[in-house]
Amino acid sequence: MRVINRHPGPALRLALVLAPFAALLLAYWIASELRLAANPADKLLPAPESVIDTAVALFTEGDRRTGRILLWHDTWASLVRLVSGVGIATALALGAGLAIGLVPHLRAMLAGFVGVVSMVPPLALLPILFIAVGLGEASKITLIVIGIAPVMIRDLSQRVLELPREQIVKAQTLGASSLVIALRVALPQVLPRLIGAVRLALGPAWLFLIAAEAIAADQGLGYRIFLVRRYLAMDVILTYVAWITLLAFAMDAGLRALSRRAFPWMEAGL
């Protein structure tokens, strides 16, 4: 039987899902053991137990000077920036996507521009942002928006263009105006795509957030990682990386659940 026709059973599937994670942890554990056996004071690959101890401390114990639990403050600061940036980018993408997809004049004006702008490497703009809008929250949020909005706009406008011509014509024969077609025909049908676009954009959004925080911030998940890097505090860095991964994964899963629930008419289209 060909391998493309062989499917795993439920138990084997679960084992296969978990295997790469287990392999990664095992590889880390072995490497850590080896290094610690050679030098018990090694800081590069701390033992899993000590990482867990540090993680518990980071999540529960306050800062020695201020008494604040820094991890939660970092998380809050980062999430505010991320959600603001992604939120603004989503609103932009929706508006511009519908406009470009439906209105030929706006398409002629904006499609090429967005295409060029999306090719500008956002991180290259970061110094300009820091100079122009300062080192505060605005520059970080702007970076996220500039980083993900053009791609989202292109994606969304393409989805609007892919709506069958028949549907747009049908809506016109039912008397719908341009605005009504945008709001009642195109918008509801691209909303699931919008959620898909947001899910795809979350990865880059985290990238830009952490890059911006690493360069100029006074709190935030990326800031903390790059701060403790100076002390080779691998246990802290690993905890933060795992925490960021968990946050990103939870957002993705949440959006997927939302789109399943909110758009029953999509059927298996998601």
Partner: protein, 255 residues
């Protein structure tokens, strides 16, 4: 003057003529089947009737109105596919037929309740009452087309345009849809244009069958000439016209 008049239509894409010298007059309540080989401009002609495109030359007028510049409520349309809105329930699709024409594209309050009553009644009549709150994706092809036709008629158009409406259906469903369409027509007396590949279907449903073909043909350059209406059959009485004698012919009766 006839209800629908197409006068001296020329149309093409780029330098390629598709239609030339098309003239057609259709009376109110007539069912016109449009047949012809692929690429002979029947769908183009339907798009012109729909006002999705405007002819390069010539005038199409419905009920004596000025030529339309874009699709409007005077024209109802059912395509082979994608004719209903997938994001609306069946009931929502019929409500949309009444609501999309308003300023915000939606009916509110008493008007909405009344429209919902009518939508329920319509769904019951077309045999889809039991799935009023389902989405079109859950329907079969025939059911979707029934919904699409009902939706188009709910908007009370002056003419109904069908672009190969039953092309994607299996033969059994197709026959059922013919009955459905003939019933609806008997009720509404709608003027219908139907593009079809199926000659038998065209003759069965139509009062007239018009054939699009190229009267001139250049074997070195097939794109040189456009198509026009080459035949205009009277398809009433099963395609055998003049069998209902209008005169009192004693000669035949005595024979």
């Amino acid at each position: 003057m006839s209800f629908v008049v197409a006068h001296d239509i020329f149309h093409g894409y780029g330098r390629r003529p598709i239609l030339e010298r098309v003239n057609l007059s259709v009376e109110k309540g007539e069912f016109v089947s449009i047949v012809g080989a692929s690429g002979c401009g029947k769908s183009t002609f339907l798009r012109l009737l729909l006002a999705e495109e405007r002819p390069e030359r010539g005038v199409i007028s419905i009920g004596g109105a000025a030529p339309a510049r874009e699709p409007d409520r005077a024209r109802g349309v059912v395509f082979q596919r994608y004719s209903v809105f997938p994001h609306l329930t069946l009931e929502g699709n019929l409500l949309a037929a009444e609501g999309l024409g308003t300023r915000m594209g939606r009916l509110y309050g008493a008007a909405r309740r009344a429209a919902r009553e009518r939508a329920r009644a319509t769904l019951g009549r077309i045999g889809l009452g039991h799935v009023a709150t389902a989405y079109p994706a859950t329907l079969s092809g025939g059911q979707q087309q029934r919904l699409a036709i009902a939706q188009a008629l709910t908007a009370k158009p002056r003419i109904l345009l069908l672009d190969e409406p039953f092309g994607a259906l299996d033969p059994g469903t197709r026959t059922a849809m013919h009955d459905f369409l003939q019933e609806l027509r008997a009720e509404t007396g709608m003027t219908v244009f139907m593009v079809t590949h199926d000659l038998a279907e065209g003759f069965k449903l139509g009062d007239r069958v018009v054939v699009f073909d190229k009267p001139r043909w250049d074997p070195q350059f097939p794109d040189a000439y456009g198509a026009t209406i080459t035949y205009d059959f009277d398809a009433r009485d099963g395609g055998i016209p003049f069998q209902t004698l209008k005169e009192d012919t004693r000669v035949l009766q005595s024979a």
